[in-house]
Assembly symmetry: C2
Homo-oligomer: 222 residues x 2
Amino acid sequence: MPTAVCLVSGGMDSLVALALARQKTPEVALLHVNYGHLTESRELKAFTEVADYYGIGRRLVVDIGYLHEIGGSALTDPSIPLPVGRLDRPEIPVSYVPFRNANLLAVATSWAEVLNAGEIYIGAVEEDSSGYPDCRESFFRAFNLVIREGTRPETLIQIVAPLLHLTKKQIVETGVELKVPFHLTWSCYRASELACGTCDSCLLRLKGFSEAGVADPIGYAR
Amino acid sequence: MPTAVCLVSGGMDSLVALALARQKTPEVALLHVNYGHLTESRELKAFTEVADYYGIGRRLVVDIGYLHEIGGSALTDPSIPLPVGRLDRPEIPVSYVPFRNANLLAVATSWAEVLNAGEIYIGAVEEDSSGYPDCRESFFRAFNLVIREGTRPETLIQIVAPLLHLTKKQIVETGVELKVPFHLTWSCYRASELACGTCDSCLLRLKGFSEAGVADPIGYAR
């Protein structure tokens, strides 16, 4: 039986988190969540290729397309334009999907409780990130409390967010060290063929590879 | 715009919680969640009839059928038999759906944040209940903290669980006082035609009506 559930989006961060999980725990179960976002099918492809790469059979792909219906984010509502080319905005960006990570962690906890897995890995990044509220350490600490109070007394599940206080540079370096297949990952918010290179997610990714002095193996439109 | 999101399952408790919400707040939005449980379509019918009864147009019906796939509960896995006819078991019953209410509240919070609604009503009962961990006050308190930490700084959402410390008798009495349409509700875990009268949910409901000295308007197989 798996000892950890890993949330794997198909992006670079959750891949590195997965690689770190595999160092610590023999058996992992992979959870991927489609939430009606623009690049949903491209990310699912990346998830599948990453899972295949590591030969991990225990997978659950879950659809919470209601987040598309609820909207309120440029990732799930095509009428809200994704901003181009700046990372220094002080406010929470329009790509924030309201309370998305709580929805993801709720699914992961339900699954982990049934699997009797003690850890949930998530590749969230606090410092060098877009500034989403549901990527903060205080959020994960509070969620651990919700898990303790809302599950069976014998259920002991902890959220592990090993990248939380790493920079994007350090995440790339860790990935290189662990020989992760960065070429299989997808980070772009906008496109599904060539990454746009201008959305927040592309900018953060490119910054990480650039600062680490490593070539990003995926293709960009610009 | 609605000021509260009400989770309405189609059962008696969430109906009374909705009636209490309507007393306090002018506009409510109704959220119903299908989670792949045995009586899903019967409860959806009850939800729709309750919403129609009150003439509430703002509704969201969400599917989280992954809880069926995850299983681990007699409500979502038909191979786990539902127990018959006892309410005095000390352990958490097999009808507990792992971490279900966290999944429901995560959806409700995402929606409430987009609607800018300040309250989420849930008809959870702690004392006179089946003893599910995700129906305890400590769980809702912890979830309020998760909402605070995981949403925009300007988002202020509180979970309101007005039935938490009521007995089933008091819930029936409150419903009678508020003239709620109990005849439209569905509580049975097992059946969708005539309520079984023997599952925990039927037993709790019948106990409430009996102690309140009120006739339950729905039909029972026994």
